[in-house]
Symmetry: C2
Subunit: 431 residues, 2 copies
Amino acid sequence: MAAATGAERRWVRGRGSPEAPQHPAPAYGRHGVGRPGGIWRTFQRDPEFGPDGCRRDAFPKLLLSQPAVLTISGSSAHWTPAHPQRLLHHQRPRQKRYYEEFPINLRTGEANLTQVYLQEALDFMKRQQVAQRPFFLYWAIDATHAPVYASRPFLGTSRRGRYGDAVREIDDSVGKILSLLRDLRITENTFVFFTSDNGAALISAPKQGGSNGPFLCGKQTTFEGGMREPAIAWWPGRIPAGQVSHQLGSIMDLFTTSLALAGLAPPSDRVIDGLDLLPAMLRGQLTDRPIFYYRGNTLMAVTLGQYKAHFWTWTNSWEEYRQGIDFCPGQNVSGVTTHTQEEHTKLPLIFHLGRDPGERYPLSFASTEYLDALRGVTLVVQQHQKTLVPGQPQLNVCNQAVMNWAPPGCEKLGKCLTPPESIPEKCSWPH
Amino acid sequence: MAAATGAERRWVRGRGSPEAPQHPAPAYGRHGVGRPGGIWRTFQRDPEFGPDGCRRDAFPKLLLSQPAVLTISGSSAHWTPAHPQRLLHHQRPRQKRYYEEFPINLRTGEANLTQVYLQEALDFMKRQQVAQRPFFLYWAIDATHAPVYASRPFLGTSRRGRYGDAVREIDDSVGKILSLLRDLRITENTFVFFTSDNGAALISAPKQGGSNGPFLCGKQTTFEGGMREPAIAWWPGRIPAGQVSHQLGSIMDLFTTSLALAGLAPPSDRVIDGLDLLPAMLRGQLTDRPIFYYRGNTLMAVTLGQYKAHFWTWTNSWEEYRQGIDFCPGQNVSGVTTHTQEEHTKLPLIFHLGRDPGERYPLSFASTEYLDALRGVTLVVQQHQKTLVPGQPQLNVCNQAVMNWAPPGCEKLGKCLTPPESIPEKCSWPH
């Protein structure tokens, strides 16, 4: 099935990157903002974005030259138009109805949205197979994002509450997608990658949040609970089954990896941070590389090998915290889970993530281990900062025009809207 | 291989019970007390206990009527003679040398003790197979108990530090035991149970402690981190592979289960709390039952179904805490992880362990869910207290005489000692 370019069929699920922790805007509500009794979500089926270049740039547009691309992505309960696949239409009435509306019953948690996403994905794959076209499917379900939902056959089936029901439905859906690949007999030239964009959003716990296991804090922080993700790569016949890789990766790597799979070179006019993960996945090769963690323009932390150095610590503000918003519920590591922005740039807090994955025991400043780790970390940070070319932020620019005002198909539904003038403006995050 | 009694070969690893959280005595040190540069441990190979009845009663003595029983148990760094398999000889010079001494290098963490335990187990099983005798093996390795150790081939092989090295060696050893069962062709009539006596001892973290994942606190507490254990039952051809059981169990159940496997009835002259787990393991049957959590004589908590009610909360005392002893490092749940003994008997804190396995969000006292759960919990506690017959404690009695002064084999080593007079006395725990 591979095209002349050497492109393989591939399916990539994943969004975000460690450099861009996602910040819900509590102003729009965390627990199912919307009309009483229900909330509506849209999903987007097409990468034809708005009239300005922002969103297209944020998406691996090189891939758009491939014959068939489908991105299915749930929108979430916060308004982040700069996130390409995240559209929420209900908060601003004038932005309603991009493709279709799907209700979520806030009281019962019932919604058939995952089934809609699933059906779209299956249909898309079948169509491409009939047309013998390689395809790229981005399947970003959002049932585990508050408001958490599941369809009726899954509601109440888990011992883990509604969140567990949602996970069960997602699990079942992933199984159906893999089954279809088997039925279509294209498993051996389909690359599947499963991951998430951030750790569990503990601000939504316990009823609508997951667990980050042993890791510290949750989504929105640069601690492991916010940043460390499960990742499963699947490619029968190419990726050995059951192997575990200790390669340090980030979602940004999926860009470079996807290009490599398609036989394309990454753009050479800029520094590309993403790493091609194929050597790790296909041959068990390990590449030593740092991962940098930003909040806004601030380099909060860096991981190098087993060590993670924090130059700044911060969970969320006292103001938020006093309102009951807590990114680290039940966790309190003195001097680490700070509610003020604490600077440690001169003497970073360094943790050994192997012995201490929960970031609870900073190495002693006086230890040889600390000094050795600091030396390594300092070098890679200097190198990073030397080669860093400040650019025009593409992921924290808001622009009404980039919403999907008139996606393909809208005319059939009579729901096409006229885009407003493109006015990019810097989004202000509450933290 | 089954004897006329219907006894199957069986291998049980496990110690302790939720009713008896184990309390190290910090007075004897937590981090490798002993001579400079090294610590010695003994291991015990035989259930021939001391001259008084205490220890024998604490052991399932009915099993002793079976032809072959081997208990191998590491001693630990605290002096708890009332724990049958826990002997530490080095703290009191006069108690030295029960069977043999095995050094642990405190600086490097090197010790070949797990290999010694392994070899003893393998030899024992081979001997029984030659003699065509059913056997009971209790194999309680202690490499993950501070001072944590591994033998040279495993030292430094893990990315998780010395603790990871120890786990790797234990994993390898369990593999070798299972392999021998396969080689001996007795897997189908050998019952294997793998579990632990308590959660990771977080007071030993990060260098010598494990992780309790999402669970609250660690060993010595009645929170999930202290009490919830992995458990794997293995019996090819009888226990379906890969199944997960939600049966709530306790290590006490292994007594009843072992008797059932041996075709023996539990004693009828007393209330037996242990449940026969065979229906759960063999037929996936679930039995609704409560689990009670004690510290000393205090009923701290009870689990019933998905709900856990805390009648008392306590981690460790302020005095200990101020000395740096912390049973819940990095965790702080207001009103739950208390350093004073807080009574909630009138209105227990209730958690839903499915949605909230980390015990971070007590149910609202005013909720219907709370009232329903409270009703169920109150009933089982009343029932429990009505049938409870206070007995002579067997697991918190200290008696110098019960140490293994002259175990079989000592004469060959010239290391037999004369037991002192039997003087049972109540042990005093620091908490």
